[in-house]
């Protein structure tokens, strides 16, 4: 399975597995390594550890070998842990599946039972169960499982419900697959991984619960367990603390092994890159944008724009960006100029590198991205995000912090860059909310993002991006998450604000018709490279490259009218 391979390639997963394999080997070989009953007296009582080679870890009050006890105890710990977790998983999966497929009242009733088991402290339940029925290994296993099945049941139900709604399950149903087959082939494989990650935690909890039970004297009296050894050592804690310490260390090592394995599994599931860690550390959290980085030259070396580049805001030369863990660069050898005060539309389909350019210009590339080539700014230094450069993201429902007020989120940039106090920054926020024409701006200051519509949220984001009066605005597909009418409003608003303040606008979009409406210049991107650039009217009227022709033609064919009147073209 790919997941297991992924997990083992991570240091935490591999270490965890190594610990557990070692313990399992010890447990399996216990009768060979230490033949005979570990509960039998083997030598002199209370031999100190590391003194007698026959008893490396010493002997207890009755003269029993501590090391033999620990090795035999591993059998009980691992067996009880695994058996209880398996039982809990079996019950949990069945109940979860049953609840999610039964639906209605049966689902409701089953989930209330799950609730009940989650509310009762599972250790108390196990304690009561064992004390009422009598301690033996199977009873302890059952008692622990009884307190542990509710979590996997709830998770299974939630996962099944989320998987069941997906397209491939619907497709299987339409194709006439038998319901049982759908469950086995389409649903279970997708539900199992997260449940599996949880099951590691259940094993750890089961091992700890077993130890606690036998520590309290509620374990099977006929087998040696780490918990009972710790309890036994407690009687002579003052004189021979090692009797309690050694089995406890074994317990900690086991549980650490399980946790490491579980972490490896969870990370493998999340696809979190840990292999590339080294590289990313070298690259740093915010890769500095090389303003002139040939040969790794320092970023402080920033000559102003060359002669004959008047009106130039920024020029990139041979700019390439490669994301961490990617082979092909997202942006290759880009040479592009941005003129001060213009409205430049960057047009391309997804994966064309247009958003990468936006982020590279703003200094917001993700961790570990490798940047080559140069970006020269007329001002000398790269613009400071927020102060010199406003950035508007695509999805306004994701780009606002859900738990902070609109007022705070618009004001914070102004406060930081304009050196305002909070009250003054709030006044500035109020002003910005008015400028983006949001109704009742006073009330909005105290509102939260979820109380607004998508278009309103994007207006808030624009207000926040422009609050510190930047000279350059980069809008990365600011309208593609919005519906058509709202799109036009947002574009018109951006256009108007930029015009009024004499700002430069870089507008990134996949919609050529939208761009045609208001851009001075367009730059067409494909597969990480610039295809063609020029004045909007010229490029759209007489495209030189085949790809541009195709783009223009496809839009003309659809007869899509420009959303905004052809103002500046």
């Amino acid at each position: 399975m790919k997941l297991v391979g992924d997990m083992l390639r991570r240091p935490e997963g591999a270490t965890g597995l190594a610990i557990l394999v070692l313990l399992a080997l010890l447990a399996l070989l216990a009768p060979v390594l230490f033949p005979g009953d570990p509960l039998k007296i083997a030598g002199r009582a209370l031999t100190a550890p590391f003194t007698d080679p026959a008893f490396p870890l010493g002997t207890d009050r009755l003269g029993r070998d501590v090391l033999a006890g620990i090795v035999h105890g591993a059998r009980t710990s691992l067996f009880v842990g695994l058996a209880a977790a398996l039982a809990a998983l079996a019950i949990g999966l069945s109940v979860g599946l049953a609840a999610s497929f039964a639906g209605g009242i049966a689902d409701e009733a089953l989930m209330r039972v799950v609730d009940a088991f989650q509310i009762v402290p599972s250790f108390l339940l196990a304690l009561a169960f064992v004390s009422v029925i009598g301690a033996s290994v199977p009873v302890v296993v059952l008692a622990i499982a009884l307190g542990a099945w509710a979590d996997p049941a709830r998770l299974t139900r939630a996962e099944v419900l989320s998987v069941r709604g997906r397209d491939y399950v619907a497709a299987a149903r339409i194709a006439g697959m038998h319901p049982v087959e759908i469950v086995l082939r389409e649903i279970l494989p997708n539900v199992l991984p997260p449940v599996l990650a949880l099951s590691a935690i259940i094993v750890a909890t089961a091992i700890l619960t077993e130890a606690a039970l036998s520590f309290l004297g509620l374990g099977d009296p006929n087998v040696v367990t780490w918990g009972s050894m710790i309890a036994e050592g407690r009687n002579v804690l003052r004189s021979s603390p090692f009797l309690s310490i050694f089995p406890g260390l074994a317990l900690v090592a086991t549980v650490v092994g399980v946790y490491l394995l579980s972490e490896g599994l969870t990370n493998a599931l999340a696809g979190e890159a840990s292999v590339e860690r080294k590289k990313s550390r070298r690259a740093g959290k915010y890769p500095p944008l090389p303003c002139r980085a040939e040969g790794g030259a320092g970023a402080g070396d920033n000559p102003p724009a060359e002669q004959g580049e008047e009106g130039m805001l920024c020029r990139t030369k041979n700019l390439s960006v490669t994301y961490r863990g990617q082979e092909t660069p997202a942006l290759t050898n880009l040479a592009l100029a941005i003129h001060a005060g213009e409205r430049l539309a960057i047009i391309g389909e997804s994966g064309s590198g247009k958003s990468t350019l936006a982020r590279a210009l703003a200094g917001l590339l993700p961790e570990g991205a490798e940047v080559e080539g140069t970006v020269r700014w007329a001002a000398g230094a790269a613009p400071l995000p927020g102060r010199d450069l406003g950035f508007v993201l695509q999805d306004p429902s994701a780009s606002l912090n859900p738990v902070l007020t609109i007022g705070e989120q618009v004001a914070e940039g102004a406060r930081r860059h304009l050196g305002l106090s909070w009250p003054k920054a709030r006044a500035r926020a109020l002003d910005m909310l008015e400028r983006v024409r949001l109704p009742e701006p006073e009330k909005l200051l105290a509102a939260y993002p979820h109380q607004l519509s998508g278009g309103q949220r994007q207006r808030v984001a624009i207000a926040a991006a422009l609050a510190a009066r930047p000279g350059l605005v980069i809008a990365d597909e600011p309208t593609s998450a919005l519906d058509m009418v709202v799109q036009a409003e947002i574009v018109a608003l951006l256009d108007e604000l930029v015009r009024a303040a004499g700002m430069t606008l870089v507008f990134i979009t996949h919609d050529i018709a939208l761009a045609a409406g208001f851009a001075d210049r367009v730059a067409i991107f494909k597969d990480g490279a610039l295809v063609e650039t020029g004045p909007a009217a010229a490029v759209l009227a007489a495209p030189r490259e085949t790809y541009t022709k195709m783009l223009v033609a496809s839009h003309r064919d659809l007869a899509s009218p420009p959303l905004v009147g052809e103002i500046g073209a």
Binding site: R112, V113, D115, A116, I119, V120, P121, S122, F123, L124, L127, A128, S131, V132, I133, A204, L208, A211, A212, F215, L216, G217, I230, R234, L237, R238, S244, I245, G248, L251, V252, V255, V256, V258, Y259, L260, S280, A362, L364, G386, R387, F391, D395, A398, S399, L400, N401, P402, V403, E412, G413, R416, H417, H450, S453, G454, G455, R457, A461, A468
Partner: protein
Amino acid sequence: MTRALRLTARRAISSIPVLLIVVVMTFLLLETAAGDAVDAYLLSIGGGDAAIAGALRQAYGLDQSMAARLWLYLSALARLDLGWSVAFDRPVLGLIIERLPNTLLLMGSATALAFAFGSTLGILAGARPGSLRDRLLSTLSLVVYAIPGFWLGLVLAIVFAVQLRWLPTSGIETIASGRTGLSRAADIAAHLVLPVGTLALIYTALFLRVMRAGMAGIWRLDFVLFARAKGLSRARIVLRHVARNALLPLITMLGLQAAAMLGGSVVIESIFAIPGFGRLAQEAVSGRDAALLCGIIVVSAVLVILVNLLVDIVYAALDPRVGTAERGA
């Protein structure tokens, strides 16, 4: 605040059937117990003949059908009668009420400490996921969280109470010391250092991990990118944008841990000989007192429900989205 109250009321009502299921569970457990309260009672007074046993059973209604007994049990519970503890020879409810404050003090201080330290360390680790500091804190917390509480308690007791003699080994206060007021409070505090420290250490590790994991996930979200694009200071991004959102799963975790903490009180109170709720459970086990054990389970379920209601209120106060229907897109 009406939003939170409405939500709490709904949750409180929905927990009634859950509590009923718990009660039926404990009743079944009582029924499974070998011998009934009368057997246990007779055993405790040194035996008695069958006639006495029969009379007692009739008096307690134990000779009736199972359904009738369940009804008797339920109606007794409705009158807050949790039964009679044969081990202590007094009503179960009084015993529990007497023991509960010690446990609440222990758990409350441990949770408060663990929350403060755990969230702070979690922020330190989560401020730069993957950094050296993060990996050190994450590994350390993983190991600490793997330590069984009873063993950690023993080890800390060996070091601080036995070897160094800085702290008392057991009990909640010095017996018959005649202390009052502040002096008594200081005495109790000294007794609580080790048990509270043990629990707090383990829960600090857990809260650290939850906070750190939450932050690691939030760093990838768009609003953090937007905060960076606004050029905010790193401290503000970490605290106000990332940590503020990661606090929410931590609050949820507090509620989820309530049951585990009550369960854990059994071993901790047994190690440090604290006359609390968990110790009572152990005494019920050793005294073969099924009625007391079941009373403890029912009360702990009620406690967990109450803690979760409290957690819900705090959560609603911290997350403006709770309890409001989604409006807009």
